[in-house]
């Protein structure tokens, strides 16, 4: 069933993407950040987003996390509208209640970690499960400790973030996001604020997630080698739209568009 503006009220069928952007627009005043963006991400797929700064790549994640409202189009998660809700056979902009019910499927890690400084690593991980999901403290502790173990931070579980290095903080932040058991994980330049020597400890955790878990992931990154290694698909953003996308071997090995070629050669020269 379609909304009067032509957007489905719900996406059904076997190949329903986990995440679907339909003609999504976002602008700040006169500046268009996303221009009629269409992007589907299949369940379990790992998609990397690359592109020059200002190309809208981070905005994609921020809108999916509902940190910002879109100006046009609809975003679906797991077949159901995220940014909108059905009302009288139409899609209307979502209210806070709808957002809260749909946001549970999505988790996000930030460039600057954004751990809660007044809580220990373990408390950071337990906070969402206890407060938001309503788990008992014991259950939340088990779940959090398991995840801290997975990211190699169990020995630092009682430390506050101020006592942890950037790489350690980011690993705790990944555990915190996973403790909410999201279906979709978003990584927003998670290694950009890190010292070069600790980038590996964070990328290794993400590699592990890719190989051992069936999460759907979107990652904005400046690390082309990493994106090439672990992605199922790479999207090159330019001017608020996808200029070119494909499997990493093709996009990096044989880019078709001139802007992609320019960007990739500029990045290579910079290294």
């Amino acid at each position: 069933m379609l909304d009067k503006t032509g957007f489905p009220l719900e996406m059904t069928g076997e190949d329903t993407p986990m995440v679907s952007f339909r003609k999504v627009n976002k602008s700040y005043g006169a500046l268009t950040v996303l221009d009629d963006l269409d992007l589907d991400v299949a369940a379990g797929e790992m998609v990397s987003i690359i592109g020059p700064s200002g190309s809208g790549k981070t905005t994609v994640l921020r809108m999916l996390m509902t940190l910002e409202r879109i100006n046009g189009g609809v975003i679906y998660v797991d077949g159901k509208p995220l940014t909108h809700m059905p009302k009288g056979g139409h899609l209307v902009p979502a209210n806070e209640r709808h957002l809260r019910s749909r946001r549970a499927d999505i988790g996000m890690c930030f460039q600057h970690f954004n751990l809660f400084p007044h809580m220990t690593a373990l408390e950071n991980c337990m906070e969402g499960p206890v407060q938001v999901l309503g788990l008992s403290k014991a259950e939340a502790r088990d779940r959090s400790e398991e995840l801290l173990e997975m990211v190699g931070m169990i020995s630092k579980k009682d430390q506050h973030p101020s006592r942890l290095s950037g790489g350690q903080q980011q690993r705790v932040a990944i555990a915190r996001a996973l403790a909410m058991r999201p279906k979709v994980m978003l990584f927003d330049e998670v290694t950009s604020a890190l010292d070069p020597e600790v980038i590996g400890e964070v990328t290794n955790v993400i590699r592990k997630l890719v190989s051992e878990h069936n999460l759907t992931m979107l990652m904005v990154t400046h690390q082309m080698g990493f994106a090439r290694d672990i992605s199922d698909r790479v999207c090159f953003f330019y001017g608020g739209r996808i200029e070119e996308q494909g499997p990493p071997a093709e996009l990096f090995g044989n880019p078709q568009r001139e802007r992609t070629q320019q960007f990739l050669s500029a990045v290579r020269e910079a290294v």
Binding site: L67, R103, M108, H118, Q131
Partner: protein, 221 residues
Amino acid sequence: MFDWKWEFTWEILPRLVYATGNTLIAAGAGYVIAVVFGLMLALAQRTPSRALTFTVREFVEFIRSTPLILQIFFVFYVGPQFGVRLSPWMSGMIAIGLHYACYLSEVYRGGIESVPKGQWEAAIALNMTTAQKYRRVIIPQAIPPALAGMGNYLVGIFKDTPMLSVIGVAELIHTANAIGSENYRFLEPYTMVGIIFLAISLPAAGLIRLFEGYVRRKLGL
């Protein structure tokens, strides 16, 4: 010319100590009102309702721009015309509490605004409700930077309690006045009041700084 009488000083001391108790109760009760109501004023200015935000902001500006003594007179003398008949103590607490609530709301606002945007975003990413965001994430981080300001106003409210003497609250100045006019001696009572204020205000400032450090450590900041 300088005939300080120790005997008289000892004689009036018990009354002054008793009045000090009243002053501390007045300051303490007024401060509790200010702390709680001030937070409500600060949070009300952050709701999506523009009408509420505007009204509260104007109210805060109005209170901050008019003298405390006028507000005390208003509550005590004008209140009854609207059927609000309050004792001097109640009127005093409400007036001074409201007055300082407005100042504290600005302190809270500064504290809340000092919390980085990323903390809000992390709270959204964990799917918290608005109440959870404030209670669990924002306010614990907004308090430490606000503590210095909150402490200043605690001392401020203490030093402003003499205003309550004008409506007959038996705090320090009121008692010193009474002693003075009963005995035709003002030197000793007023000097003692000054010393009492000093003896409480000075250590309070130091204690507040210690408390601030303790809270920061406790929160791991």
